[in-house]
Symmetry: C2
Subunit: 296 residues, 2 copies
């Protein structure tokens, strides 16, 4: 399938190469020319958007948020009006269910299919074509997107024929994932105050009832003192912010999420916004005056 990927960041780049490696002609677009150049050096295609848009069969949008997704589709140089009838948009950014429904509606007015398709799994799984996709939208959209979904994902959860359901499930997942990282950081640093080393923490807790997917994935970053951002602290300001916006519009109180978000806010205020999200542990370490591995 002739496919374009918009957004070649840590997730989008891996998705684009996975689609390319599956044998699809794949065009890459990004605001950073260096990302595009790197993708072309690996065999990615490049062309002026206006030239190729009418021939595209699939568009994957892997940008930061709702505003950027809307800009790609309906902004000044938006592509939705340039795509041919039956082209499918796979929309991967974390957005609210209401935004997903709105974008789906506006695409359908152009004869363009829209798949609400947020992703989970991180940059390594993106590079390996092994993401999880939480997909919802018309059966036609799912069918049209299938070859590209198979290239980028190990698991496609089919969540019904209405845009919004995929984004709803994604926001539920983000609530949990964001809270679990902060809770891991809270427990790990609390343990240090009680003589539990971070290594012993991971060894024991990963085999006990206190474990979580995020604990097993992120605690090693703290133990190694390596805050290279696989997923940055600031992603949680955005994603937990989206969760709380959706919650507020449903008159739903989410006090544990609020407490976790505040820790990411503090991490950002203390200068760690662009570090790996496990750096939220630095907020706790600073407050309790204990040292994390690798710190001076």
């Amino acid at each position: 399938m002739k496919t374009a990927v918009f957004g070649l960041g840590s997730m989008g780049y891996g998705i684009a190469t996975s689609i390319l490696n599956a044998g699809h002609e794949t065009f890459g677009f990004d605001v950073a020319p260096s990302h595009v150049e790197k993708f072309v050096s690996e065999g990615g295609a490049v062309a002026p958007l206006a030239d190729i848009a009418p021939n595209l069969e699939c568009v994957v949008v892997v940008v930061l948020n709702a505003a950027q997704t809307e800009d790609v589709l309906f902004g000044e140089n938006g592509i939705a009006t340039k795509l041919k009838e039956g082209c499918v948009v796979i929309a991967c950014a974390t957005v609210s269910p209401a935004v997903a429904r709105d974008l789906s509606h506006r695409c359908s007015e152009q004869g363009v299919l829209y798949l609400d398709a947020p992703i989970s799994g991180g940059s390594i799984k993106a590079a390996n074509g092994e993401l999880s996709v939480m997909a919802s939208g018309p059966a036609q959209a799912l069918t049209a997107a299938r070859p590209v979904l198979e290239a980028m994902a190990a698991t496609v959860f089919e969540l019904g024929d209405k845009a919004g359901a995929g984004s709803a499930m994604k926001s539920v997942n983000q609530l949990l994932a964001g809270v679990h990282i902060a809770t891991m950081a809270e427990a790990l640093t609390f343990g240090i105050t009680q003589g539990v080393t971070p290594e012993k923490f991971l060894e024991v807790i990963s085999q006990c009832a206190g474990s979580s997917w995020m604990l097993e994935n992120r605690a090693p970053h703290i133990i190694e003192g390596d805050y290279t951002p696989h997923s940055a602290v600031n992603i949680w300001l955005k994603d937990l912010g989206i969760v709380l916006d959706i919650a507020a519009s449903a008159n739903f109180d989410a006090p544990v999420t609020k407490a976790a978000l505040q820790q990411y806010v503090s991490a950002n205020e203390q200068g760690h916004g662009l570090e790996d999200d496990s750096a939220v542990a630095k907020v706790y370490a600073s407050q309790a005056n204990v040292s994390l591995p690798g710190s001076k």
Copy 2:
């Protein structure tokens, strides 16, 4: 080994039968005569405590908290002074590291070995002799306790030769486990407000980055609408209270734990204290005016 188990509740009963099934002569003690009678009907031994105490080789204390543990050992009818030299006490209740150190010291003054040995795994694993034990204490205590530990546990984490380390790790585990249950409840009910059914929640999230051991274990209770207490809401008032007491004494802020504890406090205030801890979801459902499975 001639062993006595103090406390035949949901955890202690399973431990006692596991030790019995491993071939040790096992005496059961509980404030509720019905528990003792049931244990005897399954082959458990019973005798006046004063008669058997001098002959015991191992004492397992599986009561609710520090005060009850102290009462068993050093209360009005406390056994510590009645035990022979070299008898080992396996202390399983969740207590603070400071309490564990104190009890260990006082036992050693009587010539009694003390193993700080909190447990994790729930009542089913207790019944199957498959608990995890977070053990710390003198090498002699660990050696003496080994045959009984092997009967009750699948995994024994050896956390050093000082009482307190086991309890420290347990408090870290409880922080995580208690927060994860409340977060699961928050996410599941939030999902309901967005059209995500509890069944779909469990199916999808258990395969995604938002999963936790507790989510996979407790979400099914909510889906089945079955709040039979495997572990009750009120256990978390106690255990997260212990965590926050220890944290306060170390000048450590634990805001996510505090937020989670408040939800258990609310669950208790709303009459759910003796239900399964997954009933903390009822606090969220009531606030957001949504229905959980099985509710009217």
